[in-house]
């Protein structure tokens, strides 16, 4: 999979928040096989330590800074610039939150910020809804990846609208699509990949599992299985049963 001209092998992206400890986070990253992890920026006291930065560096993975918590395009743009300097990357997971309860993207602010940041040389990964027109506007704004939500952030509800994601896959055939948010279980990740999504980003489902490293491994396997299943071109559903065992040669014991 190519994301902004970078070849990425793992189709699982992992968030780094809410883990019980730094060592468990590192084990989860390792066992997930993820090559990209999301990170953030937060206020720093003068007595702070660089522990988190070192923790991520030790894993050797690529970071994708986010603008989580920003509710305006201006805040997101400022945060993106700070992230570019701090993490030495032009990649930015662009979040402009429009609703405090369900953390739904403010797609108007998102498109505005995406346009400004793309023009300024950023590689924008927009956290968006599954709306096709919004996706088109984001592409027009310069995005070369779309990150539609599966369900609200941290909700573990899985894919609320799989049909909309299928429409996105069909409509944006050549654009990498990464399902971001809402994944709760490995089966959710597998479903997203079977639909034909290019990748899945998950955080809470791994961090809040009883054994985060084990769940990271399960997510990695689910993502791989779902992707291979998509590539294998699954058969269509049928309305009635069709015998799988040959009927020809069936004995007649009448």
């Amino acid at each position: 999979m190519r994301l902004y001209d970078e070849e990425i092998s793992s189709r699982l992206l992992l968030g780094t928040a809410q883990y019980p400890s730094p060592s468990i986070l590192q084990r989860a990253i390792r066992d997930s096989g993820a090559e990209i992890v999301t990170v953030s920026l937060r206020r720093e006291g003068a007595d702070g330590a660089d522990g988190f930065r070192d923790c991520i560096r030790q894993t050797g993975v690529r970071v994708l800074p986010n603008t989580a918590g920003c509710h305006t395009a201006r805040d997101a743009i400022t945060t993106a610039h700070m992230a570019r300097e701090l993490f030495s990357t032009s990649w930015i997971k662009l979040e402009v939150i429009g609703h405090a309860d369900n953390l739904q993207p403010d797609i108007f602010g998102l498109i505005e910020a995406a346009r400004v940041l793309s023009a300024d040389g950023f590689s924008v990964f927009p956290y968006t809804t599954d709306d096709l027109v919004v996706g088109e506007k984001l592409i027009d704004a310069g995005c070369r990846v779309l990150m539609p939500w599966g369900a609200p952030i941290g909700s573990a509800q899985g894919l609320r609208n799989a049909d909309a994601l299928r429409s996105m896959r069909s409509h944006f055939a050549d654009v990498p699509l990464i399902v971001d948010a809402g994944i709760g279980r490995p089966s959710d990740a597998a479903e997203a990949m079977e639909i034909g999504m290019d990748a899945v980003l998950t955080n809470t489902a791994v961090a809040k599992a009883g054994d985060p490293a084990l769940m990271a491994r399960a997510m990695a396997m689910a993502v791989e299985a779902g992707h291979i299943g998509f590539c294998a071109d699954p058969m269509n559903r049928r309305e009635t049963a069709v015998p799988s065992t040959p009927v020809l040669g069936l004995a007649d014991f009448g």
Binding site: R42, F52, R53, T79, M82, E85, F87
Partner: protein
């Protein structure tokens, strides 16, 4: 000069953002800065004047989803 740093009030005699960070104890730290809501790059901190009432944000890498 009274300024606000990460929502906390401070009273320091700094002339520019680089001075302010040093006086606040951030010397040698890996941080990114914003002044009154706008990004200030590392290279321009020394030439960015600080005025009474300014709001400074000092951010560092953290966990994120």
């Amino acid at each position: 000069m009274k300024i606000t740093v990460n929502a906390e009030p401070h009273d320091i005699p700094a002339a520019n953002l680089c001075d302010a960070l040093a006086q606040l104890g951030y010397s040698g730290r890996t941080v990114a800065t914003a002044l009154n809501g706008s990004f200030v790059s590392r290279d321009t901190r020394a030439t960015t004047p600080i005025r009474d009432g300014d709001r400074i944000e000092v951010l560092a890498p953290r966990q994120g989803g």
